[in-house]
């Protein structure tokens, strides 16, 4: 194996070259996690009302003092972006957790019997047949928009992949020879659920939640950008982006560029955590 490792270095090998995969993965996860945590905590201390408007520096290009430039009211775009990112992560977290709960509930229901299983796959197919963004907009509007509208809209559209994974996993474990053997040893359903099912499902659930995150954030921003999500008073990235559209033609490219790029980076960071976590949970690579 050492020979293979030498030849197929990961792109990050210059950073963590000598560490084993497990430590490396854990390090990446905690580092990225820390960054995201810092963004959220930082944004909680930013009071939007206190972002000073200063018309003497309105529409100024990115500079050392204002790395992301300023807007048409002379507000610092870096601070506005940071606040928006924090909000995005918080909304993403709420939506992911809610989605996961829906997925767990549906996956468990589908094991109750054939009838329930049919119901679950029926609901799954129904939701699959409507485009995500449309459904989110409809749900968000019908709930009157705002944070609740967006969170519910995003949650109700993002449980499908995890539900499928959990349902398949439960089915596979329940029909496995070792579970049948367990029953023959006199073990009860509860005992089997606790000892055979749960330990195998928990990693999937954690991973599933994190993989929903980037989608949730992107969809929240898009819906808000289109005007069906958070209200214009919220300091959300989607709002910043849609406002900046008016000024793009004046050449104020930084108004959209930096907030958009930051959002993209956040999404990529979550993807990075997800990928690494997946690698960590994959038993075939656990010992490397």
């Amino acid at each position: 194996m050492s020979f293979d490792k030498e030849r197929f270095k990961s792109p990050y090998s210059f950073l963590f070259g000598s560490m084993n995969l497990r430590t490396k993965t854990l390090l990446i996860i905690s580092l990225v996690g820390l960054i995201l945590f810092a963004i959220v905590v930082n944004s909680l201390f930013i009071n939007v009302d206190n972002i000073t408007t200063n018309f003497s520096i309105k529409n100024s290009q990115p500079s050392l003092q204002h790395p992301f430039g300023t807007d048409w009211m002379g507000r610092d775009m870096f601070i506005r972006t940071m606040k928006g990112l924090g909000l995005s992560v918080i909304i993403g977290a709420m939506a992911s957790i809610l989605s996961t709960m829906i997925a767990i509930f549906l996956a468990l229901s589908s094991t109750l019997g054939k009838y329930f299983d049919h119901c679950v796959s029926g609901v799954t197919n129904l939701f699959l047949s409507i485009p995500h963004i449309l459904l989110i907009i409809l749900i968000s509007i019908s709930l009157g928009g705002g944070i609740i509208g967006v969170v519910v809209g995003v949650s109700l559209t993002h449980w499908i992949p995890l539900t499928r994974v959990l349902r398949a996993e439960i089915k596979q474990i329940n029909t496995s020879t070792y579970v049948k053997l367990s029953k023959n040893f006199g073990r009860t359903k509860w005992w089997i659920a606790k000892n055979h099912l749960l330990p195998l499902l928990i990693p999937q659930i954690v991973l599933g939640t994190i993989l929903i995150f980037p989608h949730a954030i992107m969809h929240e921003a898009s819906v808000t950008f289109l005007g069906f999500g958070l209200s214009p008073h919220e300091p959300a990235i989607g709002i910043i982006l849609s406002e900046s559209m008016k000024y793009l033609s004046n050449g104020a490219w930084w108004l959209a560029f930096f907030p958009g790029l930051s959002l993209l980076i956040i999404v990529l960071l979550f993807d990075l955590i997800g990928d690494n976590l997946q690698r960590l949970l994959d038993p075939t690579q656990a010992n490397e």
Binding site: S176, T177, Y178, N184, F185, R187, T188, P283
Partner: protein, 210 residues
């Protein structure tokens, strides 16, 4: 004396039309070591699964005579599978898999040639033969009354095979466990069994249908 009786068993796999077993009767006493021989694909493993309660949808009846039934859900007919790999949770260490059945003494582990260090390994870190020793011991729960041994030693070398069977037979005698020995290996079956039956003979309805 307790007896396991299967009367007029008929069976076909769900969704298929072909009968694998038809009108088959077989019995096993708790002081008996009975051999079952049959050609590949004849339905030996299928019969084993029925006897041990792994296949519910069969014709005929399966009963245990004169057993003072205790309430425990533990099945007194234990099957040792041909392939031990699938009988262990891949995310459990061997110790946990053993404990799922009963608390095995060090003495027994040693007799079956299981090294202490194996207990801390994952199933995929043991050879088929090593795993099979674990699944044999798991089936030897003190509550077990009948053992269905479906080609359990095919992956062991001749010397180990003899050693394991000697042990298994002596434990069975001591605890009054009846064993059904399923194998292709006529020599082995003739060597260790009190009585040998041929699947074709007891499953004759199928034979003549062909």
């Amino acid at each position: 004396m307790v007896e396991l009786k299967a009367n007029k068993i008929g069976f076909r796999y769900g969704g298929t039309k072909k009968w694998i077993l038809k009108n088959l009767s077989i019995s096993l006493k708790d002081n008996q070591v009975k051999g079952l021989i049959g050609e590949s694909g004849g339905g030996k493993s299928t019969l084993c699964k029925i006897l041990a309660g792994y296949e519910g949808n069969f014709e005929g009846e399966l009963k245990i005579d004169k057993l003072n039934t205790n309430d425990s859900k533990f099945n007194q007919v234990q099957l040792i599978f041909q392939h031990p790999e699938r009988t262990m949770n891949p995310k459990w260490k061997m110790k946990q898999s053993l404990d799922e059945s009963w608390e095995v003494s060090d003495d027994i582990l040693e007799k079956f040639g299981i090294k202490k260090s194996w207990l801390n390994r994952w199933p995929n870190e043991l050879s088929g033969g090593e795993l099979q020793r674990f699944s044999i011991i798991r089936a030897l729960n003190p509550k077990t009354k009948f053992l269905i041994a479906d080609e359990i030693t095919t992956m062991l070398d001749a010397v180990t095979q003899v050693q394991i069977w000697k042990l298994l037979l002596s434990m069975a005698k001591e605890r009054k466990i009846g064993i059904l020995v399923v194998s292709h290996d006529k020599e082995l079956v003739n060597e260790i069994c009190d009585e040998v039956v041929y699947l074709d003979d007891i499953n004759h309805d199928i034979k003549y249908n062909l």
